[in-house]
């Protein structure tokens, strides 16, 4: 049986400022715990051995989904289930519902949070593909203030993000794009498993031309979960099957998957192309200008 290594302290933060103060007090050996559904498994495997845990589950200030100007703002402590059920997110981007429906299982989705997903930075994290596709940004706070970091600069690599010691991710922001269509495609070995490969896209079609688009890929070794060359190719072109296929091929070309128990690298590359194509097709179909 696996049980976490001894933990010296557990505290419950009462506000974002308090969480930051606690992080500073305990130093680099402290970790925030949100849903705990990535961190506790890592602690059971002893891949993570924090000295102190600072629980942010009580921070109501991080639990809302709202529109601010031309952005949708999702608080760090919003749970997967709330994203799945949100009419606001669905209205702007159906990709939120499609993506959440294939993240883990309903019981895990009751606990896992948006902030925890981004900060875990697992190379297979589905929300990272979504965030990169939509070119969202994250807001990080420390004792001196806040800064906004584009999603495509947020991850340094597997399990590494811009969140430093004494810092907390407070919200994730997504630009609103009127008329955008969006979709999510994932292949998994069984229900609730991490992706073999997954792809999320959005497309805005205006006057028969792709005005804007985004492609995000998880589990296939795409740097920052994206392949900008494929997007650049498609923008300004007609969304024909031929052009979508070319963009999908370019997206797959930009991936560098590794072979593991979920499949060989060439199969994952094949999936990257096929899933990109399927997601693009459906995004084009649902774009209001199409």
């Amino acid at each position: 049986m696996q049980t976490p290594a001894p933990l010296a302290d557990y505290v419950r933060a009462t506000s974002v400022a308090d969480a930051i103060a606690q992080l500073e007090k305990y130093g680099e050996d402290a970790r925030l715990v949100a849903g705990g559904h990535s961190l506790i498994p890592m602690m059971r495997l002893r891949l993570a051995r924090p000295e102190a845990l600072i629980d942010i589950n009580d921070l109501d200030e991080l639990k809302s989904i709202k529109v601010e100007g031309n952005e949708i703002v999702v608080g760090a402590m919003v749970r997967h289930r709330e994203v799945l059920d949100s009419p606001l997110l669905f209205e702007h981007y159906p990709i939120f519902r499609e993506c959440e429906k294939v993240i883990a299982d309903p019981v895990v989705r009751n606990r896992g949070s948006v902030g925890g997903s981004y900060c875990q930075a697992d190379p297979s994290e589905d929300l990272s593909a979504l965030g990169s596709a939509l070119r969202g940004s994250v807001v990080i706070q420390n004792s001196t203030g806040t800064r906004t970091v584009p999603m495509r600069e947020f991850h340094f690599g597997p399990y590494m993000t811009q969140v430093g010691d004494g810092e907390i991710l407070t919200e994730v922001r997504f630009p609103i794009r009127p008329g955008a269509g969006s979709a999510y495609e994932k292949v998994e070995r069984r229900v609730g498993d991490w992706a073999v490969a997954s792809v999320g896209t959005f497309v805005v079609v205006k006057n028969g031309v792709v005005e804007d688009c985004g492609i995000g890929l998880a589990a296939v070794g795409a740097e920052h979960f994206c392949v900008p060359a494929a997007e650049e190719f498609l923008i300004g072109k007609a969304p024909t099957e031929e052009n979508l296929e070319q963009a999908a091929a370019m997206a797959a070309e930009g991936c560098n998957p590794s072979s593991d128990q979920r499949g060989p690298a060439d199969y994952k590359k094949h999936l990257a192309k096929e899933l990109t194509l399927r997601a693009l097709r459906r995004s084009v179909q649902s774009s209001q200008g199409a």
Binding site: M1, Q2, T3, P4, A5, P6, L7, A8, D9, Y10, R12, V33, G36, H37, I40, P41, M43, R44, L53, D55, N57, A104, D105, P106, V107, V108, N110, R111, V191, G192
Partner: protein, 173 residues
């Protein structure tokens, strides 16, 4: 056999946790690292909640925290401090089985019974949110839980039976 949480260090439990379990306030000592499933089983002594894997996949440990099903092997007891917990022992009200329990009995919803506590806690919650779920909704609802015996068919039927036989006094998630 009683399972004892191994400790690398001969160390006294060093925190006090208080939670409401099945309507009663319970205060016990544990270590900050103690998982909720072990707290409930080994420290509080309620063995109805099972523990079946180290990977958060099997779902036999599911209980409710503040009315929502949670895999209790994937949160700490400390994280449930001050919260309201309900386990399979708390489904029965005044000596009367909950319809979900009756359903499993009526429809042969268990064989070895290992997955059953988690299945019933999730099943009850599915019905509290959606009194008339479709078969597909039930299958989706329990998709984070494994059963090695029944092939799920009779589990789905048991939950459907409970949907058709609501009781006045059932606990609500």
């Amino acid at each position: 056999m009683r399972f004892v949480v191994p400790s690398n260090q001969a160390k006294e439990p060093d925190m006090q946790v208080t939670m409401t379990i099945n309507g009663e306030s319970v205060t016990k000592e544990c270590e900050p690292r103690t998982l909720l499933v072990h707290f409930i089983r080994d420290i509080v002594g309620l063995r109805g909640t099972h523990w079946g894997c180290d990977t958060s996949n099997c779902g036999t440990c599911v209980l409710w925290v503040d009315g929502e099903p949670v895999k209790s092997c994937t949160i700490l007891a400390a994280m449930a401090d001050g919260r309201e917990v309900r386990t399979v022992e708390g489904l029965e009200q005044n000596g009367q089985l909950d319809p979900i329990q009756e359903g499993f009995r009526e429809c042969h919803g268990l064989q070895c019974g290992f997955c059953t506590p988690g299945m019933m806690m999730t099943g009850r919650w599915i019905l509290d949110n959606n009194p008339n779920p479709s078969e597909e909704e039930i299958r989706e609802g329990i998709s984070g839980q494994l059963c090695r015996c029944t092939g799920y068919h009779n589990i789905v039927k048991s939950i459907q039976w409970a949907a058709e036989h609501p009781a006045e006094n059932e606990v609500k998630a």
